[in-house]
Symmetry: C2
Subunit: 212 residues, 2 copies
């Protein structure tokens, strides 16, 4: 026989095998778990997938994941609307939120510019970022100054694609007089000089600080 | 906020995180994949889970996974019904099928005796194995001799629990005059003496063969 499993079991294994980071062995393990576990737990999994898929959309402002038309951060009154932090994915936003250091808004690009994968600026939410910045400047000519965007922090990943995307965004926003900053590169806290790669160490040297 | 994600997203991450071998990072990655991917692919995953869960049962003879009341192997006419190979899980059966060396039937224990996990012989399909062996002997007194079980090959994993379970089964079947064998332990083909652990090497010595 071509597949040693019954068709339904093989189909279940294949379905899990298509998820990211799940190889054939893990897919098999998960499939057996599903078949062994209580129907209640399996229904809960199916419901969670179904509910999330039908109720989670992108925030109309920042393109973070949202259950309403705007995400919890964009609709919050306690955030500083003058600073936008640009990230690649929702999980990067979560990482920054965990620091509790940032009180501004976000903008989720949903990827990075990567010509190899056929992803150019148009596939990302870059034009929407530009619109947010320019619209805030128009509005504030008549209205409150507090919602004018004064700084955009580019928090893309410190990779070739992330850096290139950041550079692209910085050049794009240049004409609009908004301050564009990027995250500092350097040694991770608790890290060890000996184990730092050359590029990280070079960046740490380049960005060296004077003792206050 | 306690969870930085929307409730539906967090619930999706948690649901995947409960599957075996999926840590928090993988669960997050899978959840984002689900939210990004087409609804068609997600429906296919849900259907596969649902269909398998409602249509896959245990084979009434060998307790392998089956879509009908009997699995494909038990209902096949081309298998040798006089030899039963006892395995722990369906995936072990699949591993043996891959060798194309075995043409008999299987018996899936659905685990091993493991007092630490509270699993005794009664939680496994051992009594059902005994019944298969004894019933085949009864039947063959009047009927065909071909379906009498003459050999039980114990193919549990070469672990403490697997070996103990095998030993238990061998003792249990002793009074019924059926031949009980176990898989050979020794050096894996393509392996290296230098890297073999002592126990494997000791077993290889113990089970040494005379050149034919």
């Amino acid at each position: 026989m071509s597949s040693p499993y019954e068709a339904a079991v093989q189909r279940l294994i294949d379905s899990f095998g298509r998820l990211p980071g799940i190889g054939p062995k893990s897919a098999q393990r998960i499939a057996f778990h599903i078949l062994k576990t209580s129907s209640k737990d399996v229904s809960e999994l199916i419901d969670a997938i179904d509910f999330a898929k039908s109720n989670v959309h992108f925030c109309e402002i920042c393109f973070n994941l949202a259950q309403e038309s705007q995400c919890a951060i964009c609709s919050s009154n306690s955030r500083d609307r003058s600073i936008i932090c640009v990230v690649e994915e929702p999980k990067d936003m979560v990482a920054i939120e965990r620091t509790s250091e940032f009180k501004g808004l976000y903008h989720v690009l949903q990827g990075t510019i990567s010509p190899i994968d056929g992803i150019g600026p148009d596939q990302l939410r870059i034009s929407e970022l530009l619109k947010r910045v320019t619209q805030s400047q128009d509005l504030t000519q008549d209205l409150d100054l507090t919602s004018q965007v004064v700084e955009v922090i580019v928090a893309t990943n410190p990779t070739v694609e992330g850096d290139a995307t950041g550079m692209y965004i910085a050049r794009l926003l240049e004409p609009f007089g908004v301050k564009v900053t990027k995250l500092a590169s350097g040694l991770p806290v608790g890290g060890d000089l000996e184990y730092a790669d050359e590029i990280t160490l070079a960046r740490a040297l380049e960005g060296r600080l004077v003792y206050a």
